[in-house]
């Protein structure tokens, strides 16, 4: 029983960065932009937060003050959002304003963002001529990991539902809010129209460019939080180069698996998070671990193939996904 509870708890921790990434990418794709730069943007979100936290923690140490939890959270959070936003805006400018190929631009963003993360992660100390041996933001991480006060007092129930840092709850709330906005509001209706048929949206008086910019930028910022969560909460504030691994791509897989619905992305992320760590909990031989880790991708492929074969119009990618819109083109 306790094993099961730890498993679920770990799976949720594992799922959180995926959910941030998937929610961000769904919002982006709903505007017709296939942002393959999401993995890079998540790296950027992580490293921006680390840089902010690093300076704050060092400043505290130098001045001899204790780290204030609320500031320790706010500074990295803000830095992370700004960092992701800036990198996403490069993507926006190239694909929306300059109408560049989305695949190529996205991959360039991923190269750039991943490089940015690993470069600053590895060189931060050298550049700032700091005297610490490596980037370890343990104090800041503790602020991020702060759980609800009654988590430890409510036993298994508490472990299951209350034992997480605030970003875990935020990821779920954002996914639900995204689902509501997309399906129940005028903005959501207009956004979906832009992704499905920009010419029609344009004719109806919707500002296609504005919607694409906003959706992609907000999507990128949300995805960046996934990186922030990974480094600050999941990894305990310690940066490891390439530590984030292929989670960015897995987030894109979840988008397909969740059929472009943020509310579906919540269980899908939990499922993928569970599959990601399942090997720790079943007594299979070591050799089978990669096979288990393969399962999210295989499952996604099957989902992709089935939706295309069944050709259910409701379960397809946004119709103009990957295409840039130019009004005067016929």
């Amino acid at each position: 029983m306790t094993v099961l509870i730890t498993f679920i708890q770990r799976a949720i921790l594992q799922a959180t960065p995926l959910l941030f990434g998937a929610t961000g990418e769904i919002i982006t794709e709903k505007s017709g932009n296939l942002n393959l730069g999401i993995p890079g943007i998540m790296y950027t979100g992580a490293i921006s937060g680390v840089i902010g936290g690093f300076f704050y923690q060092n400043a505290c140490q130098a001045a001899g003050y204790a780290v204030v939890p609320i500031i320790a959270v706010l500074i990295p959070l803000l830095c992370s959002l700004v960092g992701s936003l800036l990198v996403t805006l490069i993507y926006c400018f190239l694909t929306i304003t300059l109408r560049a190929n989305q695949n190529v631009t996205g991959l360039a963003i991923t190269t750039f963002g991943t490089g940015l993360g690993n470069f600053f992660g590895g060189s931060l100390i050298k550049i700032t001529k700091s005297d610490v041996p490596y980037v370890a933001l343990t104090k800041i991480s503790l602020a991020f990991k702060k759980t609800l006060p009654f988590a430890s007092k409510t036993g298994a129930f508490g472990t299951l539902f209350f034992s997480y840092g605030f970003l875990v709850y935020l990821s779920i709330i954002l996914a639900i809010v995204a689902a509501i906005v997309l399906n129940k509001t005028r903005v959501g209706l207009h956004l979906r129209a832009v992704g499905e048929n920009p010419a029609t949206a344009d004719a109806a008086g919707i500002n296609v460019t504005k919607y694409k910019y906003f959706a992609t930028a907000i999507g990128g910022m949300i995805a960046g939080l996934g990186g922030l969560f990974f480094v600050m909460d999941y990894s305990g504030g310690i940066w490891a180069n390439n530590g984030f691994g292929d989670r960015g791509w897995l987030a894109i897989a979840i988008v397909i698996f969740a059929l472009w619905k943020p509310n579906f992305a919540i269980p899908a992320s939990f499922l993928f998070g569970g599959l990601y760590i399942l090997y720790n909990y079943i007594s299979a031989s070591m050799a089978l671990i990669p096979i288990l880790q393969m399962s999210p991708y295989v499952v996604t492929l099957i989902a992709l193939v089935l939706t295309s074969i069944r050709n259910n119009r409701e379960k397809q990618p946004p119709a103009s996904l990957g295409l840039s819109y130019f009004r005067e083109e016929r």
């Binding site: 695949n103 631009t105 750039f112 490089g115 470069f119 550049i127 089978l288 393969m294 074969i309």
Partner: protein, 386 residues
């Protein structure tokens, strides 16, 4: 009336599509963009390292072509070019194969498996032959799967090929677990044997020769063969392809077999001809970089030689800078990213034209004066971006 006029005023910048500028002009646009990008990179590097920019440029050159480096750079370029060649037929067909990473990796895996099983049981020639066949077949299978689904049900190939990459990575990790019981995340030379022998005793020469030949062959295939012509027609317009009786499905599947097979070959060269070991990151993102190489090279194998060298040169040079300055090696990724942004952006000025409407500002004044300036035709100033 005046209010109405204000609302419908022509925008300041109007963008129109153009038929594409001449080849020469397009080259100038690209060259200017690359120059600006390099300048920006230089400034950034100086800011980060605090070094003299001239010394730094020397370092970049030393890193790429310094003593003993030139040949390694050439080999690096050859490997990247090989993967880039692989994705080119697919891209010419407008099939977005972003799964070259996986297709090459699976080719490398097939090579490694054969080496692992037979390296001490077979003589060199049949071994290399078997490695080649299995690598090419494995890559082809990885390439053709998304093509089959695309051809029959229109399954999105971008996402399909992307997923196949990660399945390939896990398969490699599975092999690592089986082959090396120590739990290491690389199957090393000692378990795989020598693989492809050195040509004339020169390390990497075999790989370079193979890629050079492949470049020429693929150029001829795409430019002068009937298959290559069919690929181009399908890519340009499926309607035209149907009109002249081309079997579009067949062409898609056939081309992706080719694309996957060349990726498999790249895997063979990387594992069998260079590293003699395998791990899940052996392709090192070349599958993704290849997309840019191919796209920047206008899907033409000969131009792609140039774009490959540009990217490899920059990466190696930036590597050297970061090593000397004690920086992280990922610095080169940042520089590569910046240059890519500029090259990607430069295409806009080749395909679109901007018209500036200077009267946009003048009218504001006229409106105040109460003049009916909107009745005058808008003066557009056509400025050629170059």
């Amino acid at each position: 009336m005046n209010e109405q006029v204000k609302k419908t005023r022509d925008p300041f910048v109007r963008i129109t599509k153009r038929d594409g500028v001449t080849f020469g002009k397009a080259c100038i646009v690209r060259a200017v963009c690359i120059a600006v990008a390099l300048l920006l990179c230089a400034i950034l590097t100086v800011l980060v390292t605090g070094q003299n920019p001239l010394v730094m440029f020397a370092t970049v050159f030393k890193g790429a072509f310094g003593k003993g480096r030139g040949f390694v750079t050439l080999h690096e370029a050859a490997l990247l070019l090989c993967v880039s060649l692989a994705v080119t037929p697919a891209f010419r067909m407008r099939f977005w194969n972003i799964g070259a990473e996986g297709q090459a990796l699976i080719g490398g895996l097939a090579t490694a498996v054969i080496m692992f099983l037979f390296h001490d049981r077979m003589s060199t020639f049949p071994l290399v032959l078997l490695m080649t066949v299995s690598a090419v077949v494995a890559g082809a299978i990885w390439g053709v799967l998304p093509a089959i689904f695309k051809a029959h049900w229109g399954t999105n190939e971008t996402l399909f090929t992307l997923m196949m990459n990660y399945i390939a990575i896990r398969l490699v990790e599975w092999f690592l677990k089986i082959a090396d019981k120590s739990g290491s995340n690389v199957v090393s030379h000692s378990l795989l044997g020598d693989g492809i022998p050195n040509l004339f005793g020169v390390q990497y020469l075999f790989n370079i020769v193979v890629v050079a030949l492949l470049t020429v062959v693929l150029y001829i295939y795409l430019q002068y063969s009937k298959h290559g012509y069919e690929i181009a027609v399908v890519g340009e317009s499926e309607n035209t392809a149907r009109y002249v009786g081309i079997n579009v499905r067949k062409v898609i599947i056939r081309t992706m077999i080719l694309s996957g097979a060349i990726c498999g070959l790249a895997g063979l060269l990387i594992v069998g001809g260079a590293s003699h070991s395998i791990d899940s990151n052996i392709i090192k993102g070349r599958g993704f970089t290849a997309i840019m190489v191919s796209w920047l090279g206008k899907f033409n194998p000969l131009y792609m030689i140039l774009t490959t060298f540009l990217l490899v040169f920059l990466a190696r040079g930036a590597d050297e800078v970061s090593t000397i300055c004690g920086l992280n090696s990922s610095f080169s990724d940042i520089l590569t990213g910046i240059i890519l942004f500029f090259i990607i952006g430069s295409e806009f000025f080749i395909h679109y034209q901007m018209h500036f409407n200077w009267s946009f500002f003048e009218r504001e004044k006229n409106d105040e004066a109460g003049a009916f300036s909107a009745e005058k035709p808008a003066q557009t100033d056509e400025k050629e971006e170059a």
